[in-house]
Symmetry: C2
Subunit: 223 residues, 2 copies
């Protein structure tokens, strides 16, 4: 990058970091667990949220901030499950920034348990932007291939949880789940890893239990 | 975006456009058809190139410039097919730029037929950067979902060819190929659309014939 580009980027990231820290403070004080979901387009972020909406019904309160380049589609899918959802359309920008989340914060109900922030479908840019989340999830779907962690290291390095999605497709694919796990753990040895199929429900019990545990941990002050 | 960001971006894009125009002029004068391949991570760009390498063997000369955030893996896969390949690792940047391609140009054999430029796996950023190609392909794999064209319109608007990949997986997916085609054509009515599976070979004859036609068209001066 040119020197001018680097300076502007530093500026943006510095400001973003400050806003993100404020958001995190506000949400954690309210006992809301905020989760930033990152992945390539079509890895199953919205489908995972639809599945969680059904599972949490009557037990936990969730809301979703949807980030997309264009369209209100993902927010509509979430609202169809009876879940509050706000759509941010970036109009071209390849990631969400903390200030976009900050603008919505006043509308977020104070008695929420989980606030999911679905980032723009992109395995590169979102990794550089803290949104004030307490946890960052990266999703990798089996059709994308087992070689992706080392090709897109920042997304895997900056997340605490790896969700391997679309496990139902593995029998039809040249996908070695052992290799995907191994590469991910080489980048990030502390990864919590889940293998799921939101369509068949496989692995969803474990992921749900982890979310409930993470919420309890936040509320007991050990986040 | 902030005003400062917009100004820097305009600057970069202006410079990029000039370099791209020079690259295009040089390659077209030599009768080399340059194709910029864009898609999400894991949509099948490298697998498509491996398949073309096998098909073109002994008939057409191709070379590949590989763009990735990290690793030399894709270039190694291409070289294993006996095809010259140069790896550009952007070290974090989410797209290739014309100047990166320009640096390699002197090494590209003059008697080439096809020069493929495989962009960084990203359905957003690469759309803004002309690399001096004669044709731009966007790939969309069936597992990514039929709703992607309108969610990532720039990639579809700026390409001339849409390759729907991994058609062999469609029976296992909630993927409506009619919807994917319809959305893509609403954004870009002039799309050439191909449905392929590089693994089974389905649809590859038509795509290969189109590439040969496009090469002939370039050399006859009607590009």
């Amino acid at each position: 990058m040119e020197k001018k580009e680097v300076l502007v980027l530093k500026d943006i990231l510095g400001t973003n970091k400050k806003i993100a820290a404020e958001i995190r403070e506000i949400l954690q004080t309210k006992g809301i667990l905020a989760i930033n979901l990152m992945s390539s387009p079509g890895s199953g972020k919205t489908t995972l949220l639809e599945s969680l909406a059904e599972r949490f019904q009557g037990r936990f309160r969730m809301a979703v901030i949807e980030g997309d380049i264009e369209t209100e589609r993902d927010a509509e899918r979430i609202r169809a499950k009876g879940i509050p959802a706000w759509q941010i359309t970036t109009g071209g920008a390849c990631h969400l920034e903390a200030k976009m989340v900050g603008k919505i914060l006043a509308e977020v109900p104070a008695d929420l348990d989980f606030l999911f922030i679905e980032n723009v479908g992109n395995l590169v840019c979102p990794a550089s932007y803290d949104l004030g989340e307490s946890l960052r999830f990266v999703l990798l779907s089996s059709p994308e291939g087992d070689d992706k962690p080392k090709k897109y290291p920042a997304a895997f390095l900056s997340s605490q949880v790896l969700v391997l999605t679309k496990s139902d497709l593995i029998p039809h694919l040249p996908f070695d789940i052992g290799r995907a796990r191994k590469e991910a753990l080489e980048i990030n040895p502390h990864f919590e890893i889940f293998e799921i199929s939101a369509l068949t429900g496989q692995g969803m019990d474990a992921l749900e239990a982890f979310l409930v545990f993470a919420l309890e941990r936040l509320r007991s002050g050990y986040a």
